[in-house]
Symmetry: C2
Subunit: 178 residues, 2 copies
DNA sequence: GAACACATGTAACACGTTACATGATTGC
DNA sequence: GCAATCATGTAACGTGTTACATGTGTTC
């Protein structure tokens, strides 16, 4: 449902190959709607058969040939229509919370170790995002077009900070309860 | 993959009917792994055929009969095995971020309205969670068993606060850019 | 009389993952 | 020689959603 529009959204900024869409190039789809390359190639095929994207094949001598996809006029119209629809918040799904909910079955040491691994992971992500912020959005005035992309980055930063805060708090509470 | 274990996790605390599992009773599965009742009835059937849950049928005169499910010894063992596995963080998936990424196609007024709707939604959720916190976790000393459940609530509270912060910041930035 | 809460289920379809398959170039 | 990056694809399977179906009791 959403991957279709996620792909269109990225193509509305720049032409891309299927391969590029699966990578986290320039902070696009992969960051907020990850998918495998199989999934993306399939969607591109569907988008093509609906006329929402077009592609041109480009032969390369040193690397495999590639297909460069572009959003079409009707694709852009469809994307706009979809963006204009009001959106219910995406429900939270988190495996770690399920594990926590069942954690009365294991020792708190095991739990603390797991939480600490997650803490470190979120710390790393936060640093990455902050580096992107410094590099690409340092100027005081940001264009309207860049602003929207900046806000998705800000979401990443704020969410990672929240994760960190929660991991630290949880570890402290578990330590205190022993 | 995870719904199976989410259901086991809830049943490890108390017996439940399929119907109860689909509701947000006592802040269980529905809060961090939402699923439709069809999905849950199907999983319960699978869990039963694997011997991880058992059920007893209870006839009711005023309401439809129901099946009360319990976790079995092997189910508890399986749940423990699964909890002990180290978990990669659940990847972020968020439709709103896709829309933001494509928002250069629409006016900033439309965007601000949408962000404000989300802001209000998160405000309401935050209040709900805080009410649960006041009601159920007011004492200074919380048992180890209750602590794990409290931490899932804390995750909800911290995440909603982060959402609010981001919505407010984003609206302000969009207003300033006009 | 309509809508909602309780309570369970089947069937068809859409979405997503894993495994398998191919093949060139570049770096260790 | 082995692994990684670039680049695309098929097939089988598993997960999740939507629509449809049934039936009682309570509230507006």
């Amino acid at each position: 449902m959403s991957l279709k529009h996620a792909v269109l959204a990225v193509l509305s900024h720049a032409d891309r190959t299927g391969y590029e869409l699966t990578r986290k190039i320039d902070g696009s789809v992969a960051n907020f709607w990850p998918a495998t390359h199989q999934q993306i190639y399939l969607e591109l095929k569907k988008l093509d058969s609906e006329g929402w994207v077009t592609f041109r094949e480009k032969a390369q001598s040193d690397k495999p040939d590639k297909k460069i996809y572009s959003i079409s006029r009707s694709g852009r119209a469809e994307l706009k229509r979809w963006v204009l629809e009001s959106q219910a918040p995406t429900p939270v799904k988190d495996v770690l919370l399920i594990k926590l909910f069942a954690s009365h079955l294991v020792s708190s040491d095991v739990l603390i170790d797991e939480l600490d691994r997650h803490r470190v992971g979120h710390e790393v992500k936060l640093k990455e995002y902050r580096a992107i912020e410094r590099e690409h959005f340092k100027s005081t005035h940001i264009s309207r077009d860049a602003l929207a992309q900046y806000l998705t980055l800000r979401k990443g930063i704020i969410a990672e900070k929240a994760w960190l805060e929660w991991c630290e708090e949880s570890i402290a509470r578990l330590r205190a309860s022993d």
